[in-house]
């Protein structure tokens, strides 16, 4: 029974994750004065790709075939860790969020290996950048989560989501802003990476999957939409002001909040340009400073109300 309850979240994630990209792209199209692709475009793409065969580089080895499976599987498993609505919280324990992020780390490890398996300079470059940026992002995410945990005096992140006490909004803001920046980095969004560019030299995520086609490409695309879904839900769960609603209302509010965050991402991408690669660490450092500030405000108990 527990396990069935546990598997509802990844099921919801599978159903709704591609929708998020649709909303982001629609927002961007609106800002650019275009009509834009349909909101369900990624579903059509995935359907088409899943029914295609693959072309595989001669240079590659078994890693290249395993990697899409492990990347997609770990990301899907990671999405199962985070309860979609509070009644679905079943496995929560000390340091549970570590498992979530380390499963994503597992996905990243194999994504990077798959890129390097092709022996292409482009993909090696993307792999190197991915490894670098995610190494910088992970501590920032953890500081933000520690802030949330400390302000709620809980050792389990997913238990926090079921609480409905008073929220300290300064702490919430200081913790969720770095998480938002981390979401943009980890999901290869502007200003860190441009998901639409066709110039390989500037890309990070897209360049790593240049050689994947058909089912493998579909698995990677699906996995990246799941990853965005996970980060999105995490932020929503942290900022959502009320948890003690009925199940149906909670589902609707959660989805609504997720869509709002997607619109915010779309707006961010529309008003900003992609920043230069050497500037990216500086952007991340400023996010780290905000996260650190939130954490120290929290542990020094300066703000209390």
């Amino acid at each position: 029974m527990e396990i069935i309850k546990f598997l509802i979240t990844p099921f919801v994630a599978l159903l709704t994750a591609p929708l998020l990209f649709g909303i982001i792209n629609k927002t961007k199209a609106f800002f650019a004065g275009r009509k834009g692709a349909p909101v369900l475009q990624l579903y059509f793409d995935l359907y088409r790709l899943f029914h295609k065969s693959s072309v595989i580089s001669k240079t590659t080895s078994g890693i290249f075939k395993f990697a899409p499976v492990i990347v997609f599987g770990s990301t899907l498993a990671a999405s199962a860790m985070i309860p979609f609505i509070s009644t679905l919280t079943c496995f929560h324990f000390t340091a549970d969020f570590i498992l979530l992020f380390y499963l994503l780390g597992m996905a990243r490890f194999f994504l990077i290996l798959s890129a390097m398996d092709t022996g292409s300079a482009f993909e090696g470059m993307g792999a190197s950048r991915e490894a670098f940026f995610s190494a910088l992002t992970e501590p920032i995410v953890f500081v933000s989560i520690l802030t949330i945990l400390h302000s709620n005096h809980s050792t389990s992140l997913f238990a926090v989501f079921t609480l409905c006490g008073d929220k300290n909004w300064i702490i919430i803001l200081l913790a969720s802003l770095p998480l938002f920046v981390a979401m943009l980095t980890e999901n290869a969004r502007i200003p860190f990476d441009d998901p639409n560019t066709h110039l390989e030299l500037t890309m990070i995520h897209e360049v790593m999957i240049l050689d994947n086609s058909g089912v493998d490409l579909a698995l990677f695309e699906y996995a990246s939409s799941l990853k965005l879904w996970i980060f999105n839900l995490l932020i929503v769960k942290i900022i959502m002001p009320f948890n003690n609603l009925g199940t149906l209302t909670e589902i609707i509010t959660t989805l609504l909040f997720m869509f709002i965050i997607c619109i915010v991402i779309g707006i961010t991408e529309s008003v900003m340009a992609r920043s230069r690669l050497i500037k990216i660490p500086q952007l991340l450092y400023s996010a780290a400073v905000i996260a650190g500030l939130g954490f120290f405000l929290s542990i020094s108990n300066v703000i209390k109300w």
Binding site: Y102, F109, L113, G119, S120, S128, P139, V143, H150
Partner: protein, 663 residues
């Protein structure tokens, strides 16, 4: 139990002596190595079977009445030493098997297997010793045997230098060790461990003992700044020796630190904080230094520094938990640290064995000269991959479990209500682990990606073959433990119970409850996750079954003749990271670019990271020490007559002291 281990130690020494007699035999390596492996395997099975009968009380001590100037030698076992015995035995089984076929064209010398057996028996004796003198003797045997093993290829200049630096650092450590034991022994008038444990030391004494023990054992454990010998000695030694040294010998330093804090008894908060700060610095700097290395074994050596940092951080969390009366945090910290000792020995040994297999087959350990080996050496490659994922602390393998325990302790400490300092200290552990995790992923994707994936960067790599069966079976043996601990963490918690209760000084087994809870949840969740991955694999297989999968060249923007020199290299892969952290890394770039429109010669880019702690701090320290100590050099003039005079003068002074002052 202790009898079995004493028999094991004697058998190991006998096999060592036997190997000298077998020198002329064609099967010199096979016989010596497989005998060592077999005896260790039997002892391992026996120890695991009887593990539960050991509790943390040192009831298995056995005095040996040898007529010896310092009285009796006591040997014994308790939970802590038995826990360290397990990785030792596992590693000896695997590394001896591997070593049987490691030497191909050159002979390591008549004493190789004797030294190896002495190293093993020395380490086992260190764990069994219950007397300070016996401990120091065993410690010296271990250090000296490993020194002889490091200089196996002593015809190379670099090996001699590595051996020399190792020899010096090991003996600085021993000097501090002697002082530590003298300070422990002085107030209680005995070198017996039981006397140390019951002794009462004043705060000043205990802090002094702590500092000296930290330096003495830190030299062996190799956390920063005592790590200087590691990146030199590990690449110099034959690979199965590096695996034993990096896997378990440096853990003897951790054992020594834990043993000494148990002697002193009442833990102090600043120890925990020092451990956390040193652990974090070692962890982060270790992995950053590692990313800049382009020699595979040197890189792995720096990762040992990193993992020792993780272990030390865990001990720090445990000590803080004890001091601040949080048994949950203490148990999680110590359990994580101990489990990481076991885990690190498994995956680091496997990595060294894998690296050794590559070096044996290709003749080089330079990462940038290799490539595409996964097609030539599939067993080595996939086993190396398992270890690489494990050392990055990623799920499904053992490194994740121990890091998870320490994370658990540190997070509980962060959210606790014991003041800002306590929270901040624990938060340092969490944040540094996050940074270490991310950087380790970068480092091991670099190693695995450049060495095993892509195409070979050298034409000679086309005729490479897989290593022979003894070597792969040694590696498989380690791989099995890595996967088992990773997936069935619930099953290994009982092994941690008694050493953790011993270290926390808490007799009730209820402190293990948070650990059981975490491992139970992890076992279930990792099982489900693996199920999901398998399901995806089946779906992919079914989807592709209807189609023909085509092969083509790697996409090169339309360029159809890609060659191996177009691939990314280790230097270029690491460049963003080493460049960002150049303030803490002593990085050197070697760029050859020409400004002509049509470049005549090949452009090249190389980067390497030097160890500024060795080159700047340690060497400078030694130079200054040399200058100062040179003032006293006239004492050692080298003339026999003068030395006789010294002896006479000393005797005279003693006689005067005896008759006039002592009375």
């Amino acid at each position: 139990m202790i009898n079995t281990l004493l028999i094991y130690i004697s058998i190991t020494v006998i096999i060592g002596i036997l190997s000298i007699l077998l020198f002329r035999n064609k099967r010199f390596h096979y016989i010596s190595a497989s005998l060592l492996s077999l005896s260790s395997f039997i002892t391992l099975v026996y120890s695991l079977y009887h593990y539960s009968s050991i509790n943390h009380l040192d009831i298995l001590s056995k005095p040996f009445s040898w007529s010896f100037p310092f009285g009796e030698f006591t040997v014994g076992l308790d939970a802590l030493s038995l826990f360290f015995m397990i990785p030792l035995l596992i590693l000896v089984v695997a590394c001896s098997l591997y070593g049987a076929q490691y030497f191909r064209d050159h002979h390591p010398g008549i004493l190789h297997w004797f030294n190896y057996a002495m190293l093993i028996s020395g380490m086992a004796m260190v764990l069994c010793a219950r007397n300070g003198i016996l401990f120091i003797v065993a410690w010296e045997i271990m250090s000296f045997a490993s020194f002889l093993l490091v200089i196996t290829d002593s015809e190379k200049e670099s090996v001699r230098r590595a051996g020399w630096i190792y020899f010096i650092t090991a003996h600085i450590g021993t000097a501090f060790l002697l002082v530590t034991f003298l300070m422990l022994a002085a107030p209680v008038h005995s070198f017996e461990f039981s006397a140390f444990a019951n002794g009462h030391y004043s705060p000043l004494q205990s802090n002094l003992i702590f500092v000296f023990a930290l330096i003495a054992f830190g030299m062996k454990a190799g956390f920063i700044p005592f790590h200087i010998w590691l990146p030199l000695a590990h690449p110099a030694a034959p690979s199965h020796v590096s695996a034993v040294m990096s896997g378990i010998m440096i853990k003897m330093g951790i054992y020594g630190i834990l043993r000494s804090i148990l002697f002193i008894g009442s833990y102090q908060a600043w120890w925990g904080m020092l451990f956390i700060i040193m652990g974090s610095i070692s962890g982060i700097l270790g992995v950053l230094f590692a990313i800049g290395q382009h020699d595979i074994k040197r890189l792995l050596a720096y990762h040992s520094v990193e993992n020792i940092g993780i272990i030390v951080s865990g001990i720090g969390v445990g000590i803080l938990g004890v001091v601040y009366h949080y048994p949950v945090i203490a148990a999680l910290g110590f359990a994580g640290a101990l489990l990481h000792v076991l885990n690190h020995s498994l995956f680091k040994a496997l990595l060294f064995l894998g690296a050794g297999a590559v070096i044996r087959q290709t003749g080089t350990g330079r990462i940038d000269a290799l490539g595409g080996l996964i097609k030539k050496m599939p067993w080595t490659a996939y086993l190396f991959l398992i270890a690489a994922v494990a050392i990055s602390g990623l799920p499904f393998l053992n490194g994740f479990i121990s890091e998870m325990f320490i994370y658990g302790g540190a997070i509980t400490g962060t959210v606790g209500d014991s003041g800002t300092l306590f929270s901040a200290m624990n938060a340092i552990v969490v944040i540094s682990f996050a940074a270490i995790g991310g950087l380790a992923v970068a480092c091991f994707t670099k190693v695995f990606g450049i060495v095993f994936l892509g195409t070979g960067r050298d034409k000679t790599l086309n005729s490479i073959k897989e290593v022979p069966g003894f070597m792969t079976s040694g590696m498989i043996f380690l791989g099995i433990f890595i996967v088992f601990i990773g997936m069935c963490s619930f099953a290994i918690v009982p092994f941690l119970t008694s050493p953790v209760t011993q270290l926390t000084g808490n007799d009730t087994t209820t402190i293990m409850e948070p650990i059981i809870l975490i491992s139970k949840n992890l076992t279930i969740l990792l099982g489900i996750s693996l199920g999901i991955i398998l399901l995806v694999m089946i779906v992919r297989f079914l989807l592709l079954k209807r189609h023909v999968v085509y092969n083509a060249e790697t996409w090169g923007c339309g360029y159809t003749k890609p060659d191996e020199s177009m691939q990314y290299t280790a230097s270029s892969f690491a460049e963003p990271i080493t460049d960002t952290f150049k303030t803490v890394l002593d990085m050197h770039k070697d760029e050859k670019f020409s400004n002509k429109i049509l470049p005549g010669e090949k452009w090249s880019f190389k980067s390497h990271v030097n160890d500024w702690i060795l080159n700047n701090i340690c060497i400078a320290f030694i130079k200054h020490a040399d200058k100062f100590l040179g003032l006293f050099r006239w004492i050692q003039c080298g003339k026999a007559g003068v030395y006789v005079l010294y002896i006479v003068a000393t005797l005279l002074a003693l006689i005067i002291w005896m008759f006039f002052i002592w009375k």
